[in-house]
């Protein structure tokens, strides 16, 4: 276990070092974080404009929780960077194997994702006049953590695809997040979609976790909430399995066709 933890630690250090090329703590806080808060507020106010207080709360909660997914899926970009800087073949031939690194390369986004989502959870509802049932609302925090974890697995799985088809990482990232944002019950309940789509969205991260958060706020029975959490965890585990397979295939196909060392 210790070697894996050391890889995770070094990956986090690397991740934050790379992040510092884009943000300082000030620009992250007053640029990126404020932009996310504005995004969630915009949708919430739109919800109030077209609906009522309940709609506003529905949309606000959805948009706060989905921030965790938005940031976690940026792992697609971090992993694509490995091809660009030529480290893919070097990573693939280390005794640890590529998987721990690949899965750890975007962990910094889980830290920022959790921060963004929790800050929004604490700041936006009182700011917009949306009452949450405290202290029960605090139980949302571990659920957001679970959503973050499943979304990160989703991002890693898609990164495996993005790494194979070069130059598509931004397309994959935006599609990945866009699909969750549109169909994952963030602004519109999943129940309004046609039956096949309703079934299909069950494999997306966020969907069950967000329903669990709504259940907590509405005082739903613990059993119901736990079932939803189990479903979110299962979906996350599925995406990690896909990620492992996808990255394994990336390396094995790369060794066969010589694509491992190509620049992105």
């Amino acid at each position: 276990m210790r070697p894996v933890l050391r890889i995770v630690r070094e990956s986090l250090i690397l991740g934050f070092a790379e992040m510092s090329a884009v943000y300082t703590w000030r620009t992250w806080t007053f640029g990126w974080l404020v932009r996310l808060l504005c995004q969630a507020s915009f949708y919430a106010l739109l919800g109030h404009y077209v609906g009522d207080d309940a709609t506003m709360r529905y949309v606000l909660v959805g948009n706060i929780v989905v921030l965790a997914c938005l940031e976690a899926t940026i792992v697609v970009i971090s992993l694509a960077g490995e091809r660009r800087i030529g480290t893919l073949p070097l990573l693939a031939i280390t005794p640890s194997g590529h998987l721990p690194v690949y899965l750890g390369r975007g962990l910094q986004w889980t830290v920022t994702g959790l921060t963004s989502s929790l800050v929004a959870w604490c700041v936006l509802p009182p700011l917009l006049g949306v009452p949450l049932p405290w202290p029960r609302a605090a139980y949302a925090a571990p659920v957001i953590l679970l959503v973050l974890a499943s979304s990160y697995g989703y991002g890693c799985a898609l990164a495996g695809v993005a790494l194979r088809a070069r130059g598509v990482e931004w397309l994959v990232l935006n599609l990945a997040y866009g699909i969750v944002m549109t169909f994952g019950g963030v602004n519109v309940p999943v129940s309004v979609w046609p039956a096949p789509l309703r079934v299909a969205v069950n494999v997306l991260p966020v969907v069950h976790g967000l329903q669990a958060v709504r259940g907590i706020l509405d005082g739903a029975p613990a059993g119901h909430v736990l079932r939803l959490l189990g479903a979110e965890a299962l979906v996350g585990a599925g995406w990690y399995a896909v990620a492992a397979l996808s990255m394994e295939r990336l390396v094995s196909a790369g060794r066969r066709d010589g694509s491992l060392g190509h620049a992105g």
Binding site: R2, R6, I7, E10, L14, G86, V101, G258
Partner: protein
Amino acid sequence: MEPAVHTSGLRRTYTRRRRDTVVALDELTLTIAQNEIHGLLGPNGAGKTTLVKILSTVLLPSAGTARVLGHDVVTATKAVRSLVGLVLGGDRGLYDRLTARRNLLFWGALYRLDGRTARARADALLERVGLADRAGDPVEAFSRGMRQRLHLARGLLHEPRVLFLDEPTSGLDPVAAAAFRRLVLDLRAEGRTFLLATHDMDEAAALCDRVTLIDRGRMLLTGDPARAERFLGDRECVDFAHPDPALIGPLELLPGVTGVERGDGGTWRVHTADRDATRRVLGWLLDRDVLTARHGRPTLEEAYLRAVGDRGMRV
């Protein structure tokens, strides 16, 4: 003793644009003894990097076998990976935002070194490659030579017995390249084996115990650098000056003349296949009142280029 590297009938093809198959390595059989510095010489596209990739398990061969210290690169991948170090040339393969020391600690974690060992080795290697004073600087501020030394330090972190260096001095200034070569010689003294893929003839002559010349994936020759020089340098050349280009046409037709190159300011270089042809050319020039001519041998690089043919930028 088990050879450090042994390949037999090694072949690698790539499929380009679905149907077009390119042969990168063609039936390559090569043995490199332990503690040898072996140069792999060839122009761009000769197959050098493909061989390095196969031996370091980055790439699978299409046919044939390759073994490193007795371990098959296809079936005993794990064993091979712990024995070899891959050092790439150029700017890629390092994390620019991390410091030199942090880069090594990152790779140390991947090589499953415990924290104390990783830190000790990172510091020792940075000292050894002359980067100790810059250990805390981000790699993005490093020159090409410093990056190259850090590449080597990274490749040595898990103390591999066989090192594959792919164009390690490409783009380095002469001073940095010489320092890098000294470092390689020091490391060989510790018992390591090197396979050095390069197109720099002087580097191969200065460093290598033996060299293999390859072109278009095929081996042309394996032997000590002097033998390679003989192979390439049975050819000789005659340099002279003459203002009239009309002289050159008949000269090219003399038996044993393999080519005539025009130099600056009315100078010419005649390439000959052997000593008899050189005598013939000198006599022929004397008959035409060319009284000043210099007989010599082309450099290894010139001879090599002539041996593999002049195909310009094509690979």
